[in-house]
C-alpha cells in the first residue's frame, strides 16, 4: 500500500478498498521503521493524523468526501501549522509553536488530507543538500551516504522512501526541483504568485514559491489543484482563476514546440546526464513535439544575480528574529544590543549567517549600486531572454542538475561549489516562471531529472508534457532498494 500514488490512494478510499485510518497507520509505521536512518521528519503528528483520518473516514461514510479526502501527506517545516512546532530547520525556531496555519496548510486541511508530520529542511531554506539543518542531515534513500538535495530534502526523502505519498516543498532557487531530481521524484515550482505565501516562513520574498513533491505529474496536478489560488492575506498573490490541472494531463503533444537552450550544455554537465536528456528529447519527438535550439544569452549570470538578490532579501526577512517576541533568546543578555546579537548569533547556523552578512553588505551604503541594483538589472535581462524564447517555443527542456547526488560532507567546506548546484534551476525563480523536474534516468544506480519550464501560469502545459512522458517511460516508478 505504501507504493500507491495519491491518485491511487484516493481511488482506493472512494472504492472502499481500505480506510483512511488504515492507510495512515501504514505510513506512520513506515516512518517509525525507516526514518531513524533517513532523518526526513522533524515532527511526526501521530495523534492528530489518526484523528484527522477518522474524520475523513466519517466523511466517506456520509458520502461527503472530496477528491483527495483522507490521503496522507507531509508538510515541509517551513509552513506554519497551528499548535504544532514549526522550526524551519533552525535552532532559532526550535521552540516555536505556530499560532496560526499557513494558507497552504489550511487548503490541505479543507481538502481533508491527513498531515503525518513536518519534514526536515536546510535551515531557513538556505541550502542544496539538507546538511545545514539544526536537526541534522537528511539521507538520500537511494544511497544513505549521499545527500537528498535541498532545501526540501526531508519532504523529498520521505516521499522517495514511501513514508508519505506526497509532500509540500518550497523553491527559492531550486529547492523543490533539485532534490526531486536527486531522488527520482516529480516536483513543481509554480509561477510566482500562484500559491499563497501567507504562513510560509519567508527567505527571499520575490523568489519563494510553495509547490508539490510527488511520485507522478498526475499527483502533482492533484496537489496543485488544492494549493493554487488567490489569497487576500498574501499581497503578492495573483488573482487569476485556477484551472483543473488534471483536465489537461491527457492532451496530445502533437505540435508542441520544445526549446533546448544551448547555454545549458556546459562543460561541467556530466555527459551521461546530457545523453539522458537527448534520449528524452527522442521520446518527446515520438509524442509529436518538435525540438528547437534556443539561446538564453544571460542565463550564466543567474548564479551571481541570485547570490546578490536572495541574501539581500533574506537579510531583510530574517531581521525579525531578534529574541524579543518569539523564537530563541540567549541566556542573560547584558543589554538590548547583546540580546539581539547573541540571540541571532547563537540561533542561526553558519550558512544563514553567511547569507545575512552578504545581503547586509550588498545593501549597505557604497555597495548598493554596484551589487544590488546591478543584479536587479541583470535579472531584467534574464527575464527578457525567456520572454524572447517563449515567443519561439512552448516549453523549455534541459537538465535539472549537473550530475547525481553527491556524498554527505563533499561540498560543505566550499559554499561557492555548493551554490553551483543550482545553476539550471535559479533562472526560473529570477524570472518567476513555472518549472518542474521529473525523472529521466539513472547513472550508476542514482536518479537524474530533467527540467521543464513554461511561460507564466502555464502549469497545465508543464504537467501535460510531464504526464505524457511518464506514460511512455517508467523511470518514475522505480523505488529505492530498501524501501520497496
Amino acid at each position: 500500500m505504501h507504493n500507491l500514488t495519491l491518485a491511487e490512494i484516493a481511488a482506493g478510499l472512494h472504492a472502499k478498498k481500505f480506510s483512511s485510518e488504515e492507510i495512515t497507520k501504514v505510513f506512520l509505521a513506515r516512518i517509525k521503521q525507516f526514518d531513524p536512518a533517513l532523518n526526513s521528519f522533524i515532527t511526526v503528528t501521530e495523534e492528530e493524523a489518526l484523528a484527522c483520518a477518522r474524520q475523513a473516514d466519517a466523511q466517506y461514510a456520509k458520502g461527503a468526501a472530496g477528491p483527495v479526502t483522507g490521503v496522507p501527506m507531509a508538510h515541509k517545516d517551513i509552513f506554519c501549522t497551528q499548535g504544532v512546532k514549526t522550526s524551519c530547520g533552525s535552532r532559532m525556531l526550535d521552540n516555536f509553536i505556530a499560532p496560526y496555519d499557513a494558507t497552504v496548510v489550511t487548503r490541505f486541511k479543507n481538502a481533508g488530507m491527513v498531515m503525518l508530520g513536518k519534514t526536515n529542511m536546510d535551515e531557513f531554506a538556505m541550502g542544496s543538500s539538507n546538511e545545514t539543518s539544526f536537526y541534522g542531515a537528511v539521507k538520500n534513500p537511494w544511497d544513505l551516504a549521499r545527500v537528498p538535495g535541498g532545501s526540501s530534502g526531508g519532504s523529498v526523502a520521505a516521499v522517495a522512501a514511501r513514508l508519505a505519498p506526497v509532500a509540500t516543498g518550497t523553491d527559492t532557487g531550486g529547492s523543490i526541483r533539485q532534490p526531486a531530481a536527486l531522488c527520482n521524484l516529480t516536483g513543481l515550482k509554480p509561477t510566482y504568485g500562484r500559491v499563497s505565501r501567507y504562513g510560509m516562513i519567508a527567505f527571499a520574498s520575490s523568489l519563494d514559491q510553495g509547490g508539490p513533491i510527488a511520485l507522478t505529474a498526475e499527483d502533482a496536478a492533484l496537489m496543485l489543484n488544492v494549493m493554487a489560488g488567490f489569497d487576500e492575506k498574501d499581497s503578492t498573490s495573483v488573482d487569476k482563476p485556477v484551472p483543473d490541472y488534471t483536465a489537461a494531463l491527457n492532451g496530445s503533444l502533437a505540435g508542441l514546440k520544445i526549446g533546448l537552450p544551448k547555454e545549458y550544455f556546459v562543460k561541467e554537465l556530466d555527459p551521461r546526464v546530457a545523453a539522458a536528456i537527448e534520449a528524452a528529447v527522442k521520446e518527446y519527438e515520438k509524442l509529436g513535439a518538435s525540438i528547437h535550439s534556443i539561446s538564453l544569452p544571460n542565463v550564466h549570470l543567474s548564479i551571481p544575480v541570485y547570490y546578490v538578490v536572495a541574501p539581500a532579501e533574506c537579510s531583510s526577512n530574517l531581521a525579525r528574529y531578534d529574541g524579543v517576541r518569539f523564537g530563541y533568546r540567549c541566556e542573560n543578555p547584558r543589554d538590548l544590543e547583546d540580546l539581539y546579537k547573541r540571540s541571532r548569533g547563537e540561533g542561526f547556523g553558519a550558512e544563514v549567517k553567511r547569507r545575512i552578512m552578504i545581503g547586509t553588505y550588498v545593501l549597505s551604503a557604497g555597495y548598493y549600486d554596484a551589487y544590488y541594483l546591478k543584479a536587479q538589472q541583470i535579472r531584467t535581462l534574464i527575464k527578457m531572454d525567456f520572454a524572447e524564447a517563449f515567443k519561439q517555443v512552448d516549453v523549455i527542456l534541459g537538465p535539472t542538475t549537473l550530475g547525481t547526488a553527491f556524498k554527505l560532507g563533499e561540498k560543505t567546506t566550499d559554499p561557492v561549489s555548493m551554490y553551483l548546484n543550482d545553476i539550471f534551476t535559479i533562472a526560473a525563480n529570477l524570472a518567476g516562471l513555472p518549472a518542474m523536474s521529473l525523472p529521466v534516468g539513472f547513472i550508476d544506480g542514482l536518479p537524474i531529472g530533467m527540467q521543464l519550464m513554461a511561460y507564466y501560469f502555464a502549469e497545465a502545459r508543464l504537467l501535460n508534457a510531464a504526464h505524457q512522458y511518464q506514460k511512455i517511460t517508467d523511470w518514475h516508478k522505480r523505488i529505492p532498494q530498501n524501501y520497496a
Binding site: 499581497s235 547584558r334 541571532r344 553567511r354 546591478k374 538589472q377 531584467t380 551554490y419 529570477l430
Partner: protein, 95 residues
C-alpha cells in the same frame, strides 16, 4: 574582492549578529569567495535597463482601509520569551 576582518566586524554589527573572534578569518575568506563571483556581472552592459523588483512586474495590491483583523495578543504572546501586562520585556534600554 577581499573582505578584511574589520569589514566582517562592521557587517556583523549592521546585521546584529555575534561572531566569535576566532571565526572572523573563516567568514572573511568565505564571504570574499562569494563576492568574487559577483565580478562576472561587471562584464554586462546594463545601461538604461530597469531593475526587476517583482518577477511579474506587478504593483503592490491595496485594500480598503477598514478593520478586518481582531486582537489576538494573548495567542501571539503565548510563545514570547518574556511578557508582562501585554508588554514584551527586554533588558533595560533607558538609563
Amino acid at each position: 574582492m577581499s573582505l578584511s576582518a574589520a569589514e566582517v566586524v562592521k557587517v556583523s554589527h549592521l546585521a546584529r549578529l555575534s561572531i566569535d573572534e576566532a571565526s572572523i578569518p573563516k567568514y572573511a575568506g568565505e564571504l570574499s569567495k562569494i563576492l568574487d563571483t559577483f565580478a562576472q556581472m561587471n562584464a554586462v552592459n546594463t545601461e538604461g535597463v530597469p531593475p526587476t523588483t517583482h518577477p511579474l512586474d506587478l504593483p503592490q495590491r491595496l485594500r480598503e482601509d477598514s478593520v478586518s483583523e481582531t486582537n489576538q495578543r494573548e495567542a501571539m504572546q503565548a510563545i514570547a520569551p518574556s511578557v508582562t501586562a501585554g508588554l514584551y520585556l527586554v533588558p533595560q534600554v533607558i538609563e
